[in-house]
């Protein structure tokens, strides 16, 4: 076991002053308690160091918030330049205009952009824009999809009342017939369909859209004058440099981005076409620090870098290479591992391991080799990962599978 003295002590302190110590998706219970560190100290490239000084080869990238690597010099320098001027003022900085122009230039259907801090800020706001535009109440989403922390969609259990979801309808991903049925049942009552580019729930394999799925959904929304909202918070800039809709070949009405947008600086954006501009202007949107110029400087730099380095293509390629290697290693040891979803953010699934015991055991072993592999969430490939890093990751993964196969064998005996 790795040293985790400071991590545990910090958690004990935290638990005195923070409800549940660490909350949300980074809570110990959501990952691998006693194996994953509780607290990080620093990060550079595709590695981070925890508070006990252990170095990790990272496959989570701050749960997707970091695309180009931790502390990327180009992005950090852009933020440093803005440090001379300040972060939050009485009015927005000019960077807000530059960033909106940049997004409108880059995303083919976008005529405007707005900004906030978190993905949830804008997935919820986008739904309100759809309600304002259509005067309708209902929203359709895929069962098990994550769209944020608000009561209409959060995966938690506390603080919820039945009316929070009384206007949310669900269907099984890829089952277009179900979507059609909902449109028939709630004729002229559906304001929006909100979907991620492909289905990437936690605790389950990712599922790519069937051939005609997006085309059909898009057509259905158009026919019914329902807004198609793309929640591109997790996938944005990891599938395509101009929005994930380009990767799958469809056009949404509104799209929400966050995570990789600021490469670790808190920022989210929603873009839309002129058709929805007036409705967008009517739905109140603000936050004290939402005009944060540091995060906007980071986002501008991150987008520039993505274009220059063709980052989406790069992480897809690196991910493909890594996924092929680890599937082949796993198969060599008789473990039917499949890396599901897209290669830049693959979800590891062992066939027959519906209750996740096997992947949990494997990821625990991987931690002893300094590999940060999450057992329940899709992984993220950092563009900072070099060929040498990938080679090292493959070698360590081999060792981890070797050990896992031995332990599996001895348990079976």
């Amino acid at each position: 076991m790795i040293n985790r003295t400071k991590s545990d002590l910090l958690f004990k302190r935290a638990n005195q002053v923070i409800p549940s110590g660490i909350y949300g998706h980074v809570a110990p219970g959501a990952g691998l308690p006693k194996y994953f560190p509780n607290y990080c100290f620093s990060g550079s490239g595709c590695r981070f160091i925890d508070v006990d000084g252990n170095e990790w080869l990272d496959f989570m990238c701050g749960f997707g918030a970091v695309l180009h690597g931790y502390c990327h010099p180009f992005i950090e320098n852009s933020v440093k330049l803005q440090h001379q001027h300040g972060s939050v003022f009485n009015q927005p900085s000019m960077l807000m205009v530059e960033l909106a122009e940049r997004l409108v230039d880059q995303i083919d259907f976008a005529d405007w952009a707005v900004f906030a801090k978190n993905g949830s800020d804008l997935t919820t706001w986008a739904i309100r824009v759809a309600r304002e535009k259509t005067g309708r109440e209902y929203v359709i989403r895929a069962k098990g999809a994550y769209h944020g922390v608000d009561a209409w969609c959060d995966p938690g259990l506390g603080g919820r009342i039945p009316s929070d979801r009384s206007h949310i309808l669900e269907f099984e991903w890829n089952d277009f017939d179900q979507v059609e049925s909902l449109f028939k049942e709630f004729n002229n009552q559906i304001a929006a369909v909100i979907l991620t580019p492909y289905h990437h729930p936690s605790f389950a394999p990712s599922i790519l859209p069937l051939d005609q799925f997006w085309r059909n959904v898009e057509d259905l929304c158009k026919t019914n004058e329902t807004l198609l909202v793309l929640d591109d918070v997790r996938c944005g800039w990891r599938l395509h440099d101009c929005g994930s809709h380009k990767y799958f070949g469809f056009t949404p009405d509104l799209a929400v981005y966050s995570k990789a947008l600021g490469n670790g600086y808190a920022i989210s954006a929603c873009v839309g076409s002129n058709q929805y501009r007036n409705s967008a202007a009517e739905v109140f949107l603000t936050g004290s620090c939402w005009n944060d110029a540091y995060a906007m400087a980071a986002a501008l730099a991150s987008i520039k870098l993505s274009i220059k380095e063709k980052t989406a293509q790069s992480v897809l390629k690196k991910g493909k290479q890594f996924c092929e290697h680890i599937e082949s290693i796993a198969n060599k040891f008789g473990i039917p591992l499949k890396m599901t979803g897209v290669p830049s953010m693959p979800y590891p699934w062992i066939e027959g391991d519906d209750n996740l015991y096997q992947i949990q055991s494997f990821c625990k072993i991987a931690t002893t080799y300094g590999l940060y592999f999450h057992p329940h969430h899709n992984w993220f490939i950092s563009d900072a990962m070099t060929d040498d890093d990938l080679e090292q990751a493959v070698k360590l993964t081999h060792k981890a599978f070797e050990q896992y196969a031995i332990e599996l064998g001895s348990n079976e005996c």
């Binding site: 958690f11 638990n15 110590g21 219970g29 308690p33 259990l157 996740l356």
Partner: protein, 225 residues
């Protein structure tokens, strides 16, 4: 249908009966603590010993409550035996030294949770999608487990099992003392998870729900003060 306002009383009484069944394995002894809710906010323990809900609350929290005298007079011997076993059980519950009896404490708390799963509308709804799942609860190193599962006839139930079986998820307490603290509501679940006093494996969303429900139940039922 049981009124939800009376669930704390029923859950506490069933919890006592379950824990006592591990401490006093003889079936006839256990029968003296079988609980039944009666009308007019009364509860029967062992058939003849009858308390108002309020007095039963006092028994659980303070260790002392006054039964309905007329029923004691009708069946004095059986009522006396019920009182005696309740008293013995109370002594066990307050004992700090009985830490090797983690299973007895656990059985009681899991029985209380099952009572809520079967009778509380919100809690039942939260766990409704888990009806095909099975949850193992155990103490590290022990060969026996508790299995929580659902059957359409009896609803959710907890059973003590000796054999090794597969389950959807498992919750393991580090030792008997941790299980005891958890059962008495004195274990911080977040800290216990982070420090490894509680180990989770398997389908985490099911454990998340179970944790949420168990904390809800813990906040509702009376505990010894």
């Amino acid at each position: 249908m049981i009124e939800e306002s009376r669930l704390p009383i029923l859950a506490a009484a069933r919890s006592i009966h379950a824990s006592a069944s591990m401490l006093f394995p003889k079936k006839d002894v256990q029968s003296f603590l079988v609980p039944q809710l009666l009308s007019k906010n009364r509860i029967s323990i062992g058939g003849t010993l009858i308390f108002s809900d309020h007095q039963f609350f006092n028994i659980v929290q303070k260790g002392f409550g006054i039964p309905k005298i007329q029923n004691v007079i009708v069946s004095p011997l059986r009522s006396f035996l019920s009182i005696f076993i309740l008293w013995k059980f109370g002594k066990f519950y307050k004992s700090e030294k009985k830490t090797s009896q983690g299973f007895a404490y656990l059985f009681g708390s899991l029985e209380a949770i099952c009572t809520y799963l079967n009778n509380h509308s919100k809690i039942g709804k939260i766990f409704d999608s888990e009806k095909n799942c099975r949850l193992l609860v155990n103490i590290a190193g022990a060969k026996s487990n508790f299995l929580i599962s659902y059957e359409s006839k009896n609803g959710w139930s907890v059973n003590f099992i000796e054999e090794k079986i597969s389950a959807t998820a498992s919750l393991t307490f580090k030792n008997h003392e941790t299980a005891r603290e958890a059962s008495l509501g004195s274990l911080d679940p977040w800290l216990a998870l982070a420090t490894g006093d509680i180990l989770l494996a398997g389908r985490i969303p099911m454990l998340d729900k179970f944790g949420y429900i168990s904390r809800m139940v813990r906040n509702e039922i009376p505990y010894p003060k």
